[in-house]
């Protein structure tokens, strides 16, 4: 690109973004089944009709800004092309492997001011946007970003996945929590709850070989063309992958054989309606090398499931059972592809916690089986990473649900109290655990002497008063 041509392309980009906004405004509320877009990080947009928007952010290559060092080539240093290829592959793969509707994937490219692709900057920019190009109440935003580094024939990359869900009634982040409704002996409602971990999951670095990426790119190269028909011998045009030209399109159909039909919201230049071919073999290879892609798929299923409860404005074309099955299958594949090692422990633990939370959220009418399933997963999550205090809080919450949350008592209250105290023994000022202990004592006060609790009503009252004092002192 010449310096002379840049302003023209920028202004065309601005025009296209304006046009995209107008089209998005028309399509808002229609709930496109799937949609895709490409935008620079400094000027992103959200598909307002899609319940889940995934931002595949160009992986940061920390070397790009420094001089070439002895022993390096420019290609070694400048990984921008590799990083952009990767985000494109991840995006197409998401369409192919995520079978339920409502998914929008925006490729956010590192163009413009430095730091625009930093997750906090990108999220801040999005949250500051109002109107049809900005996020909507109830939506979920997932950000896949990371760092990439090449050394000879090896590419090392480290991914992060950030989850932000917005409240249904207002444009504010929704704390990801799980709760249990108890009743005091006076019949007052007591809400015991804990945060679901996984707001930001950090994956261990992966190693890709340049030939691997070359192979994947080759397999995907056909996906860089738009075909007139679902036939690779039909007329085709190359897809322009130009950061200065934002693009938005609807994904109208996904064929299991790997064909994706796209319909641009604006037919500009070479972006015409047609079919893109994705080779499933390429996806398989990518998933083996980057298990976090399956994790992301699992997390998409998780947030879609939660939205069926707390974001009713986004209807699901998939049943809760199917969403749950898809989520479990994806997390299961993540577990199978990710190596069994300690570096994977935090992500593995977060996945198990989400599977448990997904089960618990479906407990209706005092059913204990979903909570039993949840407890087992929370236990697995705690064992996978004992430093995950959030998982241990969820385990205690499940014990509370099983002893005291419904008409059928599946466990003794003493087990719940023990689990709560275990959390506080490793983190005595934990906000969730202290609040839950306070509430648990309140619940147990009128039921002293039952369920294995060797505490009198007076003991329970005194202990609760102490916990209340501690919470007050700590400003919780």
């Amino acid at each position: 690109m010449t310096a002379r041509s840049r302003p023209n392309r920028r202004s065309r980009g601005a025009f296209v973004l304006g046009a995209i906004a107008a089209v998005l405004a028309l399509s808002a509320g229609l709930g496109p089944a799937r949609a895709g877009g490409i935008a620079p990080c400094y000027d992103p947009f959200v598909f307002s009709g899609s319940p889940v928007n995934v931002f595949t952010v160009e992986y940061e290559s920390p070397q790009n800004d420094r001089p070439i060092r002895p022993g390096e080539t420019r290609e070694n240093r400048d990984l921008k092309k590799t990083a952009q290829q990767l985000t494109w592959l991840i995006k197409l793969d998401a369409f192919l492997t995520t079978r339920f509707g409502g998914l929008a994937v925006v490729t956010a490219l590192d163009e413009g001011p430095p730091g625009a692709c930093r997750p906090e900057t990108l999220l801040g920019r999005l949250m500051g946007m109002r109107g049809v190009r900005g996020p909507q109440p109830g939506q979920a935003l997932l950000f896949l970003y990371g760092r990439i580094y090449q050394e000879g024939q090896e590419i090392f990359l480290q991914s992060y996945l950030q989850r932000v869900r917005l409240a249904s009634g207002e444009l504010a982040p929704l704390p990801e929590r799980l709760s249990v409704a108890l009743k005091s002996d006076q019949g007052e409602a007591i809400d015991v709850s804990a945060a679901v971990p996984g707001d930001v999951v950090v994956f261990p670095p992966r190693r890709l070989l340049v030939p691997d990426l070359g192979h994947i790119t080759e397999l995907f190269s056909v996906s860089g063309r738009i075909y007139k028909d679902k036939d690779s011998t039909s007329p085709s045009r190359p897809w322009r992958f130009d950061p200065s030209q934002p693009t938005a399109f609807a994904v109208e159909a996904v064929d299991p054989s790997g064909w994706i039909r796209i319909q641009p919201y604006l037919a500009i230049d070479d972006i015409q309606p047609g079919w893109i071919r994705v080779d499933p073999e390429a996806g398989k290879l990518l998933h083996q090398r980057m298990p976090e892609l399956d994790f992301m798929r699992g997390e998409i299923g998780y947030v879609r499931l939660r939205q069926t409860y707390d974001a009713p404005q986004f209807k699901s074309d998939t049943s809760r059972a199917a969403l749950t099955a898809a989520m479990k299958e994806a997390f299961g594949r993540y577990g199978a592809n990710a190596r069994e090692n300690d570096r994977e422990a935090p992500a593995r633990s977060a996945a198990l916690a989400m599977v448990g939370a997904a089960s618990a959220v479906q407990a209706e009418g005092g059913a204990i089986e979903p909570w039993q399933e949840a407890r087992n997963r929370f236990l697995d999550a705690s064992r996978a990473d004992p430093s995950n205090v959030g998982a241990r809080n969820l385990l205690a919450l499940a014990e509370v649900a099983l002893c005291c949350g419904g008409p059928r008592q599946a466990e003794q209250p003493a087990a719940a109290l023990n689990a709560l105290l275990d959390v506080l023994a490793v983190r005595p000022n934990d906000r969730d655990a202290l609040a839950n202990l306070d509430d648990f004592y309140r619940y147990a006060q009128g039921r002293a002497g039952s369920g294995g609790l060797a505490l009198s009503s007076e003991d329970l009252r005194a202990k609760r008063d102490q916990v209340k004092d501690i919470r007050r002192l700590l400003g919780q």
């Binding site: 390096e72 760092r147 580094y149 000879g152 480290q158 430093s387 023994a425 490793v426």
Partner: protein, 279 residues
Amino acid sequence: MPGHRRALIALAGAWLLLVLGAPVARAQVADCDQISHLPGDKIVMDSVKGVSGTVSGPMQIRLQNALDMKLGELNQDLKSLVKFVFCDARWPGSESVFDADRSELLNDYGVMVEAWGELSGDDAVLYFAIIPVRHYEYFKASATSLTGYEVAEYRAAHGAADPDVRLTLFGGAGELKAMVSLALGVAYARRAPGEADRMKKTNLYDSSRAFFCNALTLLDQVRPKTPGVGFSASDWQVLVDYAGKSAQAIAQNARADAGYAGLMKQLPEEKLRDCPKPP
């Protein structure tokens, strides 16, 4: 001498001490101003150097990127508690640099961990000084086995050339996280008794306990498996024993401190003996 003159002389003395003393203190970290200028607790990342010019460009880039990836992970967990200071011109080089005076100075400036790297051929070594441990335990309490100076090796001859083992160098922020957790546990434990504010005191004791328990878990995750890769088994065991004993001691100290008003006073003693593991 009238009272106000005595006060004036005392003030002048204090001023002289401030004027003359401060540059001396600053001069000791002149190779990285930010250590003394940036308030609060911090992790200092120094440079990576080769041994007598044997290091190749790619190897240096490898280690620098390995440190960057570790920091990215660490930053997610600790960004509200510590700041990162990058000292490109600083390379401590050996344990002896961290003598009693320098350790005290760095401790006063809130340095929790200082890290740097060394390369030789295909071998990489990361060095860590856990400043509060070195200052309080090694120098002030004369704990000979607990030096607060840790070495994590990634030696090709011991498997570091194996791509999977090499990923340990790139990932595995575990050992750095464990040491930062341990450092914060020690620093908070030392600040708690003298804290006058009940809320702050209670939070310091509680957080210290949480850091020690966390350090134990994190150390377990970086248990040495391959000789020449990561911590040595003996150094690792010393750290584990120290974290375990400290977790127990901080609970006892909190319970004995009349100003502490947190939950450890209410918890059964047996729960505080160890850090309870998941059932």
